[in-house]
Every structure is written in C-alpha cells, then in structure tokens.
Amino acid sequence: MASAIHPEVSAKTANPTTRSLLSIRNIGKSFGRTPVLRSISLEIAEGEFLTILGESGSGKTTLLRIIGGFETADCGEIVMAGERLDRLPPYRRRVNTVFQYYALFPHLTVEENVSYGLRVAKLPKEEVAARVEQALAMVKMSAFANSKPAKISGGQQQRIALARALVNRPRLLLLDEPLSALDANLRRQMQVELKSLQREVGISFVFVTHDQDEAMVMSDRIALLRMGELEQVASPREIYDRPATVYTAQFIGHTNLLRGEVKGGIARCHSLSWPVNLPDGPVLFSLRPENIHFAAGMQGAVKFRAKLCSQIFHGATELLQVQCTDGLMLSLRTSTRASRDEDLDLEFLPAAAVPVRESGQGKKRD
C-alpha cells in the first residue's frame, strides 16, 4: 500500500486528533415494535479508527446503515462537520461504505467499478483515470483493472470494494464486517493491511464487526454495543484492562468473575480478601486469567493455594483451571506447565481485580 490517495493528509502519521468529525446524538430505532437501537450517542474523531463491536442482533449494522443513510433513525440526529447528515439522502453524504459482501457491480469491470463514483460526479476523464490508477495501485490490484468481479477471488473483491470507496476521498468510511467472508489467514493479513491503509489515508473509519480479536487489533477505540445500547466506549487497552461491566469483561477476552462484598475498605470474596477503595456493599470483580501468577512474593499481592483441575495447551500459553481450597474455581494463563500432584501457590495484585457493574444495571430493560 504505497502511494498516498490523500496527499494533503498522508504527510502526518495520522494519529487520531481529538477534533470531532461525526456526532451521533441520541439515535433510536425500532423495527416494528422491536427496539434495535436505544438512544445511542457517540463521537467519532478525525482520522480515528472506531470499531462498533457487538454480537449479531446488537444493532451494530443498523447503526452503520443509519450513518450511511440506508436506514432512517426514529429519533436523534447525526452531525458531520457541523452539518446535519441524517437529513441527506445517501447519495449526498460524503461518506462511503464497504459492504459486507462487497456489492461490486457484476456488469462492470474492476476499473469501471472503481471509477463509478467519480464518473457519477462527472469529473474530467483524465482525473478519473489518474485517481483510479492510484487507487488500484494502493490496493495492489492494477493488474486486474479489466477483469469482471466474478473472475477475481474474495480477497481481491474486498480490495476493489475498498478502492471503490476510498477513491471518492470520503470524510468517513463505513465498513460493514468487510472481512467476515474471508478465510482466517487472509483475514489476519487484511486486518493489518486495512489498519496501515487507514493510517496512510487518514480518513476516519467506522468498522463494524462481531469479532473481538479483530476489534482489538485494528481499532483506536472500540464501541461495544449490546442489545441496542452502548456498553462501553474506550481504547482496546482500556476496555480490556478496565472493563466497565460484566458483559464487557466476558465478551472481550476471558475473565474470572469474583462476587464478593466490601466492608470498611476491605473486599472479601470467599476466603480471599484485599484492600480496596470502594464504598461498602456487594461487588463484582473481573480478574483476567493472565493476572494470576505463581507466587513470587510480589509486594501487596493476594496469596492463595489451589489445586489443579485441568490444563489446556494453547501454544504460547497454558490455560489452567484451578480450585482454591475454599472451592472457588479460577482459570489462569501461564507460560509454564504445572504438575498435577502438588498444590499450587498463586497470587494476584489487588489492582488486577477490576470492579465491574452488572450489565444493564440501573436501566430497566423490557
């Protein structure tokens, strides 16, 4: 992905600025009597790679389609660069979409597909040709300019769909699970390419996926959507290290959920206890498996003894199921094998146990 499609922005190594490009305000949508989105508010910054992550039925595609103009929201507004976007038909929005199954025009060649938007905009022929050539070179598809879409592979169609959208130099690019039809290896490769391409062109990407790993690898920020509501919006690192809710903690990576009680600045969970800075009352903690270690005498660590129940080899790591002496089951991830016979001495730092909300707490769901 060599040449730059946006000479004016490619010079800087497009770190997302804090300048907001798109504001989604209180967007709500129902299909018939089924609510799909409930009062979604979200800011997307210039040059940002934002992933809308969610299970099927979470409303993520509907949200993307509302931004693209293919669905109308029941309420709320969308503002792009100071202009109401949601009142414009899709063909007047400076937003382009990469569709899930690419939606390449089967009767047009690769070149005609890519030039479609520019020809519709009635740009001069020479400019169309130059920009199409540039876009095809960017996605390494110049050799296929005269092929019909049916003659090229899924991964190649994917690149063409990307070129066809980017050649129009949109302010914002929407991607609706664009990698879901590719096989695992190609998918990983495209994740990397897509991310570096986004840095290069500096356009804001809104990427929809149901794949947590994909979201983690590519995004500047992840917006986790659940049953039409935003569960958490944060950077991948933050959403992983400091999940706000049980759902987030469980959906993104593996976790141990510890149900306990805080009393006088001490959290108790089964026989484990550690100091916390929380008000009294019942509490839930998320403790990532990789944050439990074999005891090495870390300062202030919570120490406990457990019996090995099972051990699963994952290549670089091992996932162990252990049972504490009080019956509590925990999973932990280590790089060393444990022997089954002896009890294990384990520990974790209090800071690794992150208090999480019960999902949907405080908000009544029907």
Binding site: G68, G69, F70, P89, P90, Y91, R92, V95, N96, T97, F99, Q100, Y101, A103, L104, F105, P106, H107, Y116, G117, V120, A121, K148, A150, R164, A165, N168
Partner: protein, 282 residues
C-alpha cells in the same frame, strides 16, 4: 453413477416423445415443402424447389411476412413498455401488495385466449363499448371504424395477451438484482435515476431480451387475433399458412412458408440467446 438401464429408462420416454411428436412431423413437413400439388389436387412426391420460388415470386407472401414482423415488433415494443414498469413497480415498490399484483398479472393467463380476443371484439366493434362511450360523451358522431378489423386491433389484442410473457422474465431479472448493489450505487453518489440507468437497467437486460423474444416469436406466429380482429388489412402470415393447408389445399407451399418462419424463429432464438449470454454476468 446410475446404471445403464436406469439411464435409458429415464431418457427414453422424453426422447421418444420428442422424436414422435416433434422431429417426425417437422421432417414430414420439410419433405412436403419440396413436393408439389397436381391439377387434380393430389400430392406429387417428386423433389422440386418450386414452392420456395413461388414464395419469393408472389408479392403477397413476403408482404404479409413483413407485415407480420412489423406487427410483432410493435407488440414487442408495447408489451415491453407496459411490462417493464409493471415489473419494476412490483419488484421495488409493491412490498406487501406484491403477491396480489403478481396474481393479477397471472390470472388472465388462465382465461382462454379466444375469450380474451372476443372481449376485445365487443370493446372495439362499431356497436362496441368504446364506440358507444365515445359517442355518448360526444367526442365522435360516428363509430370509429379503424378500431376493429385493423392491424391496430391485432396489435392491441396481442399486446394485451403477451404482456404477461414479457413481464415475467423482466420481473424475475429485477428480483435477482442484489439490493445491496442499489445501495452501493446510492452510496457512491448516484441518485435514483442514475442508479436505474447505470445498474438496474443493465442488470435486467437478460430479462428484457427473454421477454422481447417471447412477445415477438409468439405474436409473429399468431393467427387467431388477425382472424378474429384483423380484417383484410390485418392478415398475418399464419393465416396464409392456415388457408394453404385448408381451403386452398396447397400443403407443399404451406410447408415451405412454415419452414421459412421456423428458420426465422430459430435464428431469432439463437441471436437472443447469444445476446443474453453477452449480458449475463454470473
């Protein structure tokens, strides 16, 4: 994969059917077209090209053939002009009424051709519904005579009868267009009209070709509509064939004309097949 006996058992019946009821009669007809009729109206079974010479020599045959093609061309045009918008509306806008409208198009096909042709007769005749109405509202003082027993009546009736045949393949083609292509076109800045010209129309061309072929071929060989509603000026080539096989008792000449038409139609089907392939994408 299947046993030899099984394969023969399943291919034989249709094969026999085609040979017995299609190929043999055509072969016989083909032979007839090279035979001739004696003065006492018996068939002379000796080979001659006279029938084909006759066909080219006597103006009325070629003229009628050209008129038939001109009528068929108009029927094709009008049934496309009616069928396409109808199919377009049904495919893109009818939504819940889709099934209902679809049935409305199909139901007339259940009614006998003859009944529909006679219906037009009662509408277009000089005492017919249309003339009575026109006189009643004083738009005309005399019955309009060109309405019935004219090429106009034939084109009108055939258009009515064959529009469902153009509608169906066009509708099928439109239904097969993935809707995300239309969204993609809008997404790339093309308003609805441009999207129609650049995406929907090109992708529906195979259906249009199939529908046009139906309308043209079926109306080219039609003989009932011209017989009932055509009058002397609306005679079509099939009427001549019918009379040659009937009252005129000149089977060899009738067979020769039939074969010319058959060749024409096969050529046309071949041509439209080629075009459809050229416009088919998947």
């Amino acid at each position: 994969m299947f046993s030899r006996a099984y394969r023969i058992a399943i291919t034989l019946p249709p094969l026999v059917w085609v040979i017995l009821f299609l190929l043999l009669p055509y072969a016989l007809l083909f032979c007839y077209s090279f035979w001739s009729v004696s003065a006492v109206q018996t068939i002379i079974h000796s080979w001659t090209l006279d029938n084909y010479r006759e066909l080219l020599r006597v103006n009325v045959y070629l003229q009628t053939l050209f008129r038939s093609m001109w009528i068929a061309a108009r029927v094709t045009l009008f049934s496309l002009l009616l069928g396409y918008p109808l199919a377009y509306y049904l495919s893109f806008y009818a939504e819940k009424r889709k099934e209902f409208f679809y049935q409305l198009v199909i139901i007339p096909l259940w009614v006998s051709y003859l009944v529909r042709a006679y219906a037009w007769k009662t509408i277009l005749g000089s005492d017919g519904v249309l003339n009575t109405l026109l006189q009643y509202v004083h738009l005309t003082s005399h019955p309009l005579n060109f309405l019935l027993y004219s090429p106009f009546a034939v084109v009108l009736t055939l258009t009515h009868i064959y529009t469902p045949f153009t509608f169906l393949p066009i509708y099928a083609a439109l239904e097969h267009i993935p809707r995300n292509l239309i969204e993609a076109s809008h997404d790339l800045g093309a308003p609805p009209l441009q999207t129609f010209w650049r995406v929907i129309l090109p992708l529906s061309i195979p259906g249009v070709l199939a529908g046009a072929t139906f309308a043209f071929v079926l109306s080219l060989g039609d003989f009932l509509a011209p017989l009932l509603l055509g009058g002397p000026s609306g005679i079509m080539i099939s009427n001549i064939v019918v009379s040659l096989f009937g009252a005129a008792y000149n089977w060899p000449l009738g067979a020769a004309i039939s074969f010319c038409m058959l060749a024409l139609v096969i050529g046309l089907l071949f041509f439209s097949e080629r075009l459809e392939k050229r416009w088919g994408f998947r």
